[in-house]
Amino acid sequence: MTNRRRNLFILLFIAGLIAASAFVVATKPTKLGLDLKGGTSLVFQAKPTKQSQVTADSVERTIEIMRDRIDKFGVAEPEIQRTGTDQIDVSLPGVENADQARNQVGKTAQMYFYDYEPNVLGPGCKPDPTNQSVTGGPSAGNGTGALSQYDAVRRASTCKPTNTGKETTRGAYYLVNTKTEKVLAGPAETRADLTAEVEASKDKTVAEGPDTEVVKIPQGTVVVAAEGSGGNPAGRYYVLKDQPALGGLDIKNPEQNFDSGPGGTGAPNVTFDFTDKGKKAWQETTREIAQRGQENFFGGSANNAFQHFAIVLDDEIISAPYIDFQQNPDGIDAANGSEISGGFTIKSAQNLANLLKTGALPIRLELISSSQVSATLGKQALDQGLIAGIAGLILVSLFLLLFYRVLGVVAVGALAVYSLFMFAMIKLIPITMTLPGIAGLILTIGVAADANIVIFERVKEEVRAGRSIPVAISQGYKKGLTAIVDANVVTFMVAFILFILATAGVKGFAFTLGIGVIVSFLTAVLLTQAVLGALGRTRVMGHPSALGAQSTRQRFRWDYMGRSKTFFALSGLILAIGALAIGNKGLNLGIDFTSGSRVVAELNQSATESEIRDTLTPLGLRKAKIQRISGAEFRSNEAFQISTETLEPAERGQVEQALNKEFGGGTYSFQTIGPTFGNTVAKGAIIAIIASLIVISSYIALRFEWKFAVPVLIAVVHDLLITAGVYALFGFEVTTATVAALLTILGYSLYDTIIVFDRVRENIPRMPRAAFSQILNRSMSEVLMRSLATSFSTLLPILALLFFGGETLKDFAFALAIGVLSGTYSSIFIATPVLMHWKEAEPVWRKRRARVALANAGEVPAYVTAAGGAATEVDIDEAKKPRRRLTAPDDPNMTVGREEFQELVGDLGLEDEAKQAPTATAEPDEPEPGSGADLRPEDLVMKDEPKTPKPKRARNRRHGR
């Protein structure tokens, strides 16, 4: 295929994609994350139960049930996904009551029916069905005859374990205070779970001490709360023999209804049918209950003789109806189903019906993180993100136009196409857009522009070297592609690792970054190449000034390597200050790592930090960290961030109420992170950083050589530590977004270093007489402009994020800005000098350096100088051309002949050495004084050097003719 046809094909292909993208953008909706449209996000950790272990299957089943529940609650576009092995992330757009959401979605909903009287255990762990002081008699289940929680736990702990196969638990652990006779924590399935619960508690009285005791209730006995006592330690509790007659799986079709039968109260209730197995068990159980009532009836009011069954949901009796033995002497016919009534509102009856409908969760769920964003704040954050994106695009476009003229116009066009493609991809996949996702998108604008800058600078170099514009364009793309591929692969790998290991919030960022890298390659390389290929011979591109390459630029020749000591010292000082700041102030770790609650409150009336503290002090939050925050997403300047220890849902309500009362209302968003989640985030961050370093250094070692990978790692460590030092110095909060920023810095720092090292790799075989420091100086002077331009183009969208991105993205953008600046600096002044010091110590380079010094009065000049007009560079392209064999070797044992070797030496500009080294087998490690034979021909070839093309054989034309 000719170039013209190829360009035409690419342009048509891209035009087709543009049309398809425009269609997708026009027809598909954009999926917004909770932080952009408001809602509740919950993260649960799965815990095993007696019936089920935490396995991939049980977690998947749980997710299915949760999805069913959410559908029934009518939440639009919920997202439920598994994170790691045992965590479930639930996003509920539009739901602003985190507590209600937690109850609706994460409730285990284990329901059991107990034949009540024979299973209530009295003193000595013995059932006493006729003793009303144990069962409560006609008031069964509502607290009469029940015990305090402490006494109930104590009584239950004395019972003997059973193993009939009907038990619902393996037993339970409680922490009790023997002095105050209170239950401090529990029930927990295991001792370890109890310890974790105690450690996670913010209540300081909940801790193991001299007055506390861990009490174990054996399998076969349960402590259940009386009706209306659930979750209240001061409530009343019964001890039951854990032998339920039916379980939640034995019922079907639960519905919210009204008690509208004869004599009905019209109150809301829950009706249900039984499964075939349930019908049988129900009939038998109610028959037994009725018969027992009949046996206990000795005249008088039958009410006193009625026996009950108890419906227990998640360790609380929710209803304990009696069986009228006079009406149902043979039990209740299960064909008509049954009902649960008493104390329901319509909403609570609907909730219970829905819970029963979807079934119990196979595993227990513990809420480890919750956050809630108001719709108003979400909308404002979205507006800010979009403004930042547009500002970033405009800034980068202006820079490209000013710097690259016609090339800039092509690049801006490519950026516009890139933006369209990305938008279409986001809608098509669909990617849920979150605030970090928008940040990733904006950052990829800079990355897309970087690819163009790398190529355009190369094209300009070729033009200045005297090549025609079409040839310069062709060569620019050819030579610039390697660096772009390497840099994009590295960025993609970082995005991939981040996506695999990061928490849900950062995943969006990683995904858009990864997709952006792929799409940018399509638009910034393929599209621009096709456009420029088509324009190359037109008048538009007729003059070098159209490319911004009108004059031969005098390269900025600076002794980068010679001055590296000064910059090393500067970096050392900056790091020392950073270390002192880390020691003195430490990193301000956010609640993502330390656990706790964060409230963002935008108040209607003016307030100060101390006034807010005074308001919160009565709620026990005197030590809360309160700071005024600003940002365009807030309507007023009265926005505050309040960081506290973990707040329970009820406490969150109290905070909101207190602030509303004092400051005339406001808008609130809450976030609560449990310690488990904090540990997961911290562990994930460390693993992500280490994994990135390993994978990327392996890639660089493979593409360059392993000695190039180590300085890259040192430079990356340098950038990360400087960023950490700056964070400590200014006290910025470290959040999960910061971790994402750090990993991006890691990728970006490598991008810059790769551009420098790529040129070094190219120059090594070109400069066979130069010392390594001279090669580096030369490479640096060639790519400095490229490096600065790419950094600047990446910095522009980051600055847009910093100034327009709102409060949430400000810290993220700040970390990125520091990292990009540090990355550029370290590529030039850390990675390259380290490489120089390390390589110069190699014998081959040491000897070459000695030879250069000898020829220059003991000094190694910063740059290679041609003496007497002798060539200092080798045209590698020319040298690589296949050539005929001149002679047969003189000695059959030699690989090349004398004349052949002489010609090779001449090509490489090593005539002097040829006199000293008559054959190719001369030992280069021990050169004669003044000899330049310091490298063998194979030493001049880097790993990725293309192999010498095989000479074409005459085609066998007999075939196929």
Binding site: S564, K565, G572, G583, S773, H837, E840
Partner: protein, 90 residues
């Protein structure tokens, strides 16, 4: 946090190793590894091989990284000299 302070200080000190003729074992990279490793090791030794809780990290903690880094650099240099490394004057 203490480890971060020690290693940052150790690497900060390493930056000045460039002023000494490079006879380090493993060259400049060897000196980097020695400085970083010994700054942490020395810090640990000072705290009785425990990681100080975050509240106990002070300005002094960062300074504790200095002797370790210097010991590491010295050791790397000593081994280099013993192994006959010749200084590269860059």
């Amino acid at each position: 946090m203490a480890i971060l302070a020690w290693v940052t200080m150790g690497i900060a000190i390493w930056h000045f190793a460039i002023y000494v003729p490079d006879r380090y074992w493993g060259g400049i990279v060897g000196s980097f590894v020695f400085a970083a490793f010994f700054s942490v090791l020395f810090g640990f030794a000072l705290t009785g091989f425990t990681i100080p809780p975050q509240d106990d990290v002070t300005l002094l903690t960062a300074l504790e990284g200095i002797p370790g880094a210097l010991i590491g650099l010295g050791l790397s240099y000593f081994i280099g000299v013993r192994k006959g490394n010749v200084a590269v004057h860059v």
